[in-house]
C-alpha cells in the first residue's frame, strides 16, 4: 500500500508491504542515516522520533507512521539536535559513530521530558541505546553539557 508521511519537514510518499518496518521504509527511501544494528529493538541504533517520541523504527510497522511526523538526525534547523550534535563532537562522544545519530535523537526526546537531568537520570534514559566503543562516559558528559546549554543555544538558533 501507499504510505505518506512527513520526514524532516518534507512529505514523502512510498510503497510498503504489510510487514515492512518503518526502518526499512526509511532506509529504502534514502534515509540511510537511520541505522540497523539488530532488527529486534535491542540496540536502539534505528531510533527516530515519531511525532516527537523516540521509537525503535525496526519494531514499528511502516503503516503505523501513515500521516505522522518523523524526525531523523538529518532534520535541519532543530536547535536541540544541533546543540546535542555539537556537544557530542566536542566531548569526544563519537567513536565509530554508528550509534551516535540515534543517541542524539533519544537524548532530544528525553530532554523534552526532563530538561535538567542528573547524570544518573541520563544513564537511565539512555539505557536503550547501546554503544560498544565509548563505555558511555563521554556520551553522558555530552548530554549533560547540552542539557545545561541548550536554552542559550536555542536562543542563538532562533535569531
Amino acid at each position: 500500500m501507499e504510505i505518506k508521511l512527513n520526514i524532516n519537514d518534507s512529505m514523502v510518499t512510498g510503497k510498503a508491504e504489510a510487514g515492512t518496518t518503518l526502518l526499512r521504509f526509511l532506509r529504502e527511501n534514502g534515509h540511510t542515516e537511520v541505522k540497523k544494528g539488530c532488527g529486534e529493538g535491542e540496540c536502539g541504533a534505528c531510533t527516530v522520533l515519531l511525532d516527537g517520541i523516540a521509537v525503535t523504527s525496526c519494531l514499528v510497522p511502516a503503516m503505523q507512521a501513515q500521516g505522522k511526523e518523523i524526525t531523523t538526525i538529518k532534520k535541519q534547523g532543530d536547535p536541540v539536535i544541533d546543540a546535542l550534535k555539537e556537544s557530542f563532537v566536542n566531548h569526544g562522544a563519537v567513536q565509530c559513530g554508528f550509534c551516535s545519530p540515534a543517541m542524539v535523537l533519544t537524548a532530544k526526546w528525553f530532554l523534552s521530558e526532563n530538561p535538567h537531568p542528573t547524570r544518573a537520570e541520563i544513564r537511565e534514559y539512555m539505557a536503550g541505546n547501546l554503544c560498544r566503543c565509548t563505555g558511555y562516559a563521554k556520551i553522558v558528559d555530552a548530554i549533560e553539557y547540552a542539557s545545561k546549554t541548550i536554552e542559550s543555544f536555542a536562543k542563538i538558533g532562533a535569531r
Binding site: T32, K36, E42, G92, V94, Q95, C96, R123, C133, G135
Partner: protein, 780 residues
C-alpha cells in the same frame, strides 16, 4: 610526581612543546558521523544490485549426504545458488593474514570457503544465494534441501585432547593444532624452596564482539574487469586471499575499506568478502550481503575460551620464585587466528611480573564448537584472570597487602620477560597502581545489611604492534599542494578509534599545515600505499610512524628552503599554523603556501612515500618461545568498587578507574575514549557477557539474550594517563587500543572477594553461583 585523578595527564617529564600533538582535538569525521552523513558499508547500494545470503549448517558435526539446490535456484527472483563446486579455490591460501613474510609451514587445518562433504560446526557456510530482492534470497534459504548424517563431535577441550577423541579433521592425528611454551630455570627445584605455593584452576567464556554495525559489503566488477569490494574490514590486504579463492591475479581485486561501525577484531578475519566476491563474479552483477544480528552471533568467531591451571610459588618476603601453568584454548572447528592468539597467551601467561623459574604450556585445541579468533586484547585478557587471582591468593597466604606483593614483583625497564625479551621502555606499573587505588578513594558506606561493598585492583600488560617475526611494514604517502594544504594516503582502515585523525595530527605537527587543510585518504588496496591491518594495537605504531617518516622528509625539504627565504639558519626554523617562522624572531615568517610554491617551482613535487619497518625477529618454530617476540608492551592498572547483594548474588560495579602509560597521548580525548571503551568491554566480560553453546548448538543469538553493558551498567569512569615518552610509536607513543580490556575482569573478581570473601575463578560472575558460594561461606 603529582598524580591527579579524573582524566588528568601525568607527564613523566616535560618535553618540547608540540603545536598539535597532545591537544584535545575533535575528531575529523565526528560531525559527519553524528550527523548521519557517513556512508557505512550497508548504506551503499548500486544499480542492478543483488542481495546475497549464506546458507549455513545447523549441525555441529555431520556428513552432508545430499544437497539439492534446484528448488532454490528455480525460485522466482533467485539469480544464483552456489556450492563449493562453484568455488575456484575452496581452501584458504594463507596463514598470515595481512602480511607477506614467509612463515614456513601453512596450517594443516585449512579454512574452507564452503563446506564440502561434511560440516564441523553449527553455522558453517554451505551455499550462497544471490537474488533480486532480500525476500527472494530469504525464501531461497528455506528451499535448499539438505540431508545430514550426524557424526560424533567433540565439544570439551580436554576431551578433545584425548587420543580416543573423535577428530574434528578426520585426516589428522590430533585435535591439538598448536602448542607453545615458556621455559626458564627449574620450576621443580624452585617450588621446593618456595615458602608458599598456591594452585588454582580458572576458566573463561566465549565473548561476542557485538559491534553495533553488522558485517557488510558490496562487490562488483568494474568496466576493466577488476572485482571491487566496498566492505567493512579491518584488513584490506584480504584482497590477496579473495584473488586466490577466485583464481584471479591479485592485481584484479580491489578492496576499499569503509569507515567501520566498530570492529574489535570481529572484522579482522574475512567476513562477507569471499561470499560477495564469489556471487558478483558468478552473476556479473553487484551483490550486497549484510549479516543479521543472529548471523553475527552464530556465523562469526568469538573470543577464545580458556581453561587455565596455575601454580605459583613465592618466598615469605613476597618474591615470586616460580610459575607453572597449563592453558588450553578452544579453537573451534577451523583455525583462523587461534595459532597466533595462543602465542600471545603464552608470552603473557605469567603477567607483568619477573619470574625466575617458569614452565608454561599452552595448547589450542580443535572442537566442533563455534570457531574462535581475534577479539580486542587477543589472548591476553584470559590469562590475566588467572595470574592476577594468583597474586591475590599469594598475598592472602602471605598476609601481605596485594599492592605490596605486586610492587615487589613487577617487571621493570631492563627486566626479562618469560621469553627472555628485555623490556626497553618505561614500566610504570607502580605509578599506575598507586593512581587507580587513589582514584577509587575510600569505600562507600552502605546502610543496607545485605549489601556488601568491596574494592579490588589488577595490573596488566599487552604488546602493541604485531609479532616481530611477521616483519610488519606500513607505508604512507604525503603530498603538499601549492596552496599550502596537504594530502595523506595510507592503507590503514579506520574502525572508529581515530586512525585517520592520528595521521592528520602527525602530518600537521611536522609540516606546519593546519589540521583543516589536511585530507586523509585511507583503506583502498589499489590507491593508498598499504598500511597493514588495523589490529594488534599497531595502527599508531605502524601507520603513525610511516606518516611521521614521510612528514619528516617533507619537513626537511621545507625547512631548507625556509631558512633561505627567511635568511636564517635551518635550526632556527619551525613550521606551524600554516607558516614557516624564525624561532628567535616570530615576526620573520612566510606562509607555507609561498614556501611550497617556491620548492615546486624548482621542479620538486614535494611528495613523499615512506615505509616503516617494525623490528624483526626469526620465526617461532619451536614449542618453547624465546627471544624478542614483540616490539614493546603497554602497561597499566585498573581498580573497581563493587556492591554485592548477598540476597541475590548480583554484582553492581559502582566505581571504575584505569591508569595507563601511553608513552605519548597524541590526542588525550581519543586516548580516554579508548581506555573507557576497553574497560567497559572488560566489565561486560566480568559480570554479564557469555555466549553459550550446548554440545555445539548456540543458545543465545540475540542482544536480548546476549547482554552487553548499557549506560546503566557502567559507573562513572576515572582515567589517568601517564606519558613516559618511551614508546616506539611517533613522539614516543605506545599503543592503547587493546590494553584496557586486560585488567578489568581480575579487578572485578578481586573486588567481589573483598566484599564477600568469595573468589570466583570462572568468568563471568553468575549471580546464582555467587549466591551459593556466599551461602556456603557463611555456613562454614
Amino acid at each position: 610526581m603529582a598524580v591527579k585523578t579524573k582524566e588528568k595527564i601525568v607527564k613523566a617529564k616535560e618535553t618540547q612543546q608540540y603545536h598539535v600533538i597532545g591537544k584535545r582535538l575533535n575528531g575529523m569525521d565526528d560531525m559527519a558521523k553524528v550527523s548521519g552523513q557517513i556512508v557505512y558499508a550497508d548504506d551503499y547500494s548500486m544499480e542492478r544490485m543483488l542481495h546475497g545470503r549464506v546458507f549455513r549448517s545447523v549441525k555441529p558435526s555431520a556428513k552432508i549426504k545430499a544437497i539439492d539446490i534446484s528448488a532454490a535456484r528455480n525460485h522466482p527472483g533467485v539469480v544464483t545458488v552456489m556450492t563449493y563446486k562453484d568455488v575456484p579455490f575452496n581452501r584458504a591460501a594463507t596463514s598470515a593474514v595481512g602480511q607477506t613474510a614467509s612463515l614456513g609451514k601453512v596450517s594443516e587445518f585449512p579454512r574452507i570457503v564452503l563446506a564440502e562433504d561434511r560440516v564441523r560446526f553449527y553455522g558453517e557456510p554451505i551455499a550462497l544465494i544471490a537474488a533480486e530482492t532480500q525476500e527472494a534470497a530469504e525464501e531461497a534459504l528455506t528451499l535448499i534441501k539438505i540431508e545430514y548424517e550426524d557424526l560424533p563431535g567433540v565439544f570439551d577441550i580436554e576431551e578433545a585432547m584425548k587420543e580416543t577423541a573423535p577428530r574434528v579433521h578426520e585426516d589428522s592425528s590430533t585435535n591439538v593444532h598448536s602448542h607453545f611454551g615458556l621455559h626458564q630455570g627449574d620450576v621443580d627445584e624452585a617450588f621446593k624452596h618456595a615458602d608458599v605455593i598456591v594452585e588454582n584452576v580458572y576458566q573463561t567464556q566465549y565473548q561476542e564482539h557485538a559491534h553495533m554495525e553488522p558485517e557488510s559489503g558490496v562487490a562488483w566488477i568494474d568496466g576493466e574487469g577488476v572485482i571491487n569490494l566496498r566492505v567493512a574490514t579491518q584488513v584490506i590486504e584480504h584482497y590477496r586471499e579473495i584473488a586466490h579463492i577466485l583464481g584471479l591475479p591479485e592485481s584484479k581485486v580491489r578492496v576499499r575499506g569503509t569507515l567501520m561501525g566498530g570492529g574489535f577484531g570481529g572484522k579482522e578475519d574475512m567476513t562477507v568478502e569471499p561470499y560477495i566476491a564469489l556471487l558478483a563474479w558468478h552473476t556479473g552483477r553487484p551483490v550486497k550481503l549484510t549479516y543479521s544480528r543472529e548471523e553475527m552471533m552464530y556465523g562469526r568467531h568469538k573470543r577464545v575460551p580458556y581453561k587455565m591451571y596455575y601454580k605459583h610459588g613465592a618466598t615469605k618476603d613476597g618474591k615470586l620464585v616460580a610459575v607453572e601453568a597449563k592453558l588450553i584454548g578452544d579453537a573451534g572447528a577451523y583455525i583462523y587466528l587461534s595459532h597466533w592468539i595462543l602465542l600471545y597467551t603464552t608470552v603473557h601467561a605469567t603477567g607483568p611480573y619477573f619470574v625466575p623459574n617458569v614452565k608454561v604450556d599452552c595448547y589450542s585445541v580443535l572442537t566442533n564448537n563455534i570457531f574462535t579468533s581475534a577479539f580486542r586484547s587477543f589472548g591476553c585478557m584470559q590469562p590475566a584472570l588467572g595470574y592476577e587471582a594468583q597474586m591475590d591468593a599469594l598475598a592472602k597466604a602471605l598476609r601481605m597487602d596485594p599492592s605490596e606483593l605486586r610492587l615487589k614483583n613487577y617487571l621493570k625497564t631492563g627486566s626479562k620477560t618469560g621469553t627472555g625479551q628485555v623490556i626497553e621502555s618505561a614500566v610504570m606499573l607502580p605509578q599506575t597502581q598507586e593512581a587507580v587505588i587513589k582514584a577509587l578513594g575510600p569505600k562507600a558506606n552502605t546502610t543496607k545489611l545485605h549489601i556488601k561493598v568491596g574494592q579490588g585492583f589488577a595490573s596488566g600488560w599487552y604488546p602493541y604492534g604485531r609479532m616481530c617475526y611477521l616483519h610488519d611494514t606500513s607505508s604512507a604517502w604525503i603530498g603538499m599542494e601549492s596552496d599550502g594544504s596537504a594530502v595523506v594516503r595510507s592503507g590503514i582502515p579506520d574502525l572508529g578509534a581515530g586512525q585517520r585523525e592520528s595521521l592528520r595530527q602527525i602530518t600537521s605537527e611536522l609540516t606546519g599545515v593546519p589540521l583543516d587543510k589536511i585530507h586523509v585518504i585511507n583503506a583502498d588496496s589499489q590507491l593508498t600505499p598499504l598500511g597493514g591491518t588495523v589490529t594488534a594495537s599497531r595502527g599508531l605504531l605502524m601507520s603513525g610512524n610511516a606518516a611521521r617518516l614521510a612528514a619528516e622528509a617533507l619537513r626537511g625539504q621545507m625547512i631548507l628552503q625556509a631558512a633561505q627565504m627567511l635568511k636564517t639558519t635551518e635550526s632556527d626554523v619551525d613550521l606551524a599554523n600554516g607558516e614557516a617562522f624564525s624561532k628567535r624572531d616570530n615576526s620573520n615568517k612566510i606562509p607555507i603556501s609561498a614556501l611550497v610554491k617556491a620548492i615546486k617551482g624548482q621542479g620538486n613535487p614535494l611528495e613523499v612515500l615512506k615505509c616503516f619497518h617494525a623490528p624483526t625477529a626469526p620465526p617461532v618454530t619451536d614449542v618453547v618461545i624465546t627471544g624478542q617476540i614483540f616490539t614493546d608492551f603497554t602497561f597499566g592498572s585498573q581498580a573497581v568498587e563493587v556492591e554485592v547483594d548477598t540476597l541475590t548474588g548480583k554484582v553492581n560495579v559502582t566505581k571504575f578507574a584505569a591508569a595507563y602509560d601511553v608513552g605519548r597521548a597524541i590526542n588525550p580525548k581519543r586516548v580516554e575514549g579508548q581506555i573507557q571503551g576497553g574497560m567497559t568491554q572488560g566489565l561486560g566480560f566480568a559480570i554479564m557477557e557469555e555466549f553459550v553453546e550446548n554440545k555445539g548448538i548456540p543458545e543465545n543469538l540475540t542482544l536480548r539474550t546476549y547482554k552487553i553493558p548499557t549506560s546503566k551498567d557502567v559507573p562513572e569512569i576515572k582515567v589517568i594517563i601517564f606519558e613516559s615518552g618511551t614508546g616506539f610509536g611517533p613522539f614516543g607513543a605506545k599503543g592503547i587500543g587493546e590494553p584496557p580490556v586486560v585488567a578489568a575482569t581480575p579487578a572485578v573478581m578481586s573486588a567481589v572477594e573483598d566484599a564477600v570473601g568469595v573468589r570466583l575463578r570462572k568468568s563471568p560472575v553468575h549471580s546464582d553461583d555467587l549466591f551459593n558460594k556466599i551461602k556456603e561461606q557463611s555456613g562454614k
